[in-house]
Amino acid sequence: MEAPPVTVMPVTGGTINMMEYLLQGSVLDQALESLLHRLRGLCDNMEPETFTDHELVYLLKGQQGNPFILRARRSLSHPTAPWHLRYLGQSEVGDKSRHALVRNCVDVAASHSLPEFLNEMGFRMDHEFVSNGHIFRKGAMKIVVSKLSRILVPGNTENTEHLSLSYLVELSVLAPAGQDTVSEDMRSFAEQLKPLVHLEKIDPSKQRH
């Protein structure tokens, strides 16, 4: 058995300072098919991709300040795939010249021991939900049309209930900080989806009840 020669030294640091540019909207269930039809026409030609994910939102409370939030996601349709851990920073919405919400973003692929490990770090699960839907791509842009479901019995992803009678539509791009031109592309793409869906820059801090 031949072991590969080592040519690369450990990469420490990963990809620093990636930003997520995001536009959000929603469509009623009845409008789903026409939106999917439009997206199939506009997006890159690829196999239709669907997903069913289970997301757990973890909080780490410090002595002061806001809790630190991490999102752990696993695929229910591909149970052997790695978990996805995500950190999202404060969103920048104030800048009028930008057409999308911008926030710092760290994506980490992790092994299945993630929930146990986060617990050991002091994180506690705050809430969980199931998201299922369709993914489309157009160049660097990602379009996710998904249905959110509440989990009725903690941990049991079989027993769920739809949160609403509509689908969440998200258009996002991951880019290094400062590449604001991507928000231009996103805006023009969002224009093409009108009037099926109105994708907007939504400030999550104003959504809290």
């Binding site: 990469v11 990809t15 092994s111």
Partner: protein, 211 residues
């Protein structure tokens, strides 16, 4: 990934760390081992800052291995471990108000990587804050994943260049039920490096707080 054994090799009497490493290289080359590049294993230590709970905070270790260059391993001593991609390091930076990096405690082992038939041998100098603390030797027997099946062979091979300082079966394997194989994700190897690093840290600075 086969079965690996990581051990500490004492510095030869009257010799420096570098001279002992050179001697080991020479012995391996005499055996017929071929040098194949270099390697590096490093370990960062973090401790939780907010000690709101009554229990003392555990140390969190984040390790990298050039053998798996895109991965990083995070573990609590004796607790759960996580294998993640290199972005985990970025996440630790974001978490710095909750987990502080004990900067002076970064330990690494760096050195040459040799191949001898089915064996991979890595002779490294263990350094902590730029001072050499000791020598590590990692031997991997690539074709086998069941420690119990190849331990005697590995031991015999190690004797051929380490002489009497051959280690016992690593405790990570001893703790496992007979016949159980080593996982392919190098957790066992990294656990052994962590044990070695912690031993060398304590050896050199007795009585001081390791944190």
């Amino acid at each position: 990934m086969g079965v690996t054994c990581v051990c500490q090799v004492p510095v030869a009497e009257g010799k420096s760390v570098q001279q002992t490493v050179d001697m080991l290289h020479k012995k391996l080359e005499q055996l017929g081992a071929v040098k194949q590049g270099s390697f590096c294993v490093d370990c960062e230590t973090y401790h939780a800052t907010g000690n709101s709970s009554s229990q003392p905070s555990k140390l969190l270790y984040v390790m990298h291995n050039s053998e798996t260059p895109l991965s990083c391993l995070a573990l609590f001593e004796g607790g759960p471990c996580l294998i993640a991609d290199a972005n985990f390091d970025v996440l630790m930076v974001k978490l710095k108000s909750h987990f502080q990096n004990a900067k002076g405690h970064k330990v690494e082992s760096r050195g040459s990587r040799y191949r001898y038939c089915d064996f991979l041998i890595k002779v490294g100098t263990v350094t902590m804050s730029s001072s050499a603390r000791g020598i590590s030797v990692e031997v991997e027997y690539c074709p086998c994943v069941v420690p119990g099946d190849c331990w005697n062979l590995m031991k015999e091979f190690m004797q051929s260049f380490l002489g009497p300082s051959v280690p016992e079966l690593p405790s990570v394997f001893a703790a496992k039920p007979e016949g159980l194989f080593a996982p392919a994700d190098c957790v066992d190897t990294m656990t052994q490096y962590l044990e070695l690093f912690n031993k060398l840290r304590k050896l050199q600075i007795p009585g001081s707080n390791v944190r």
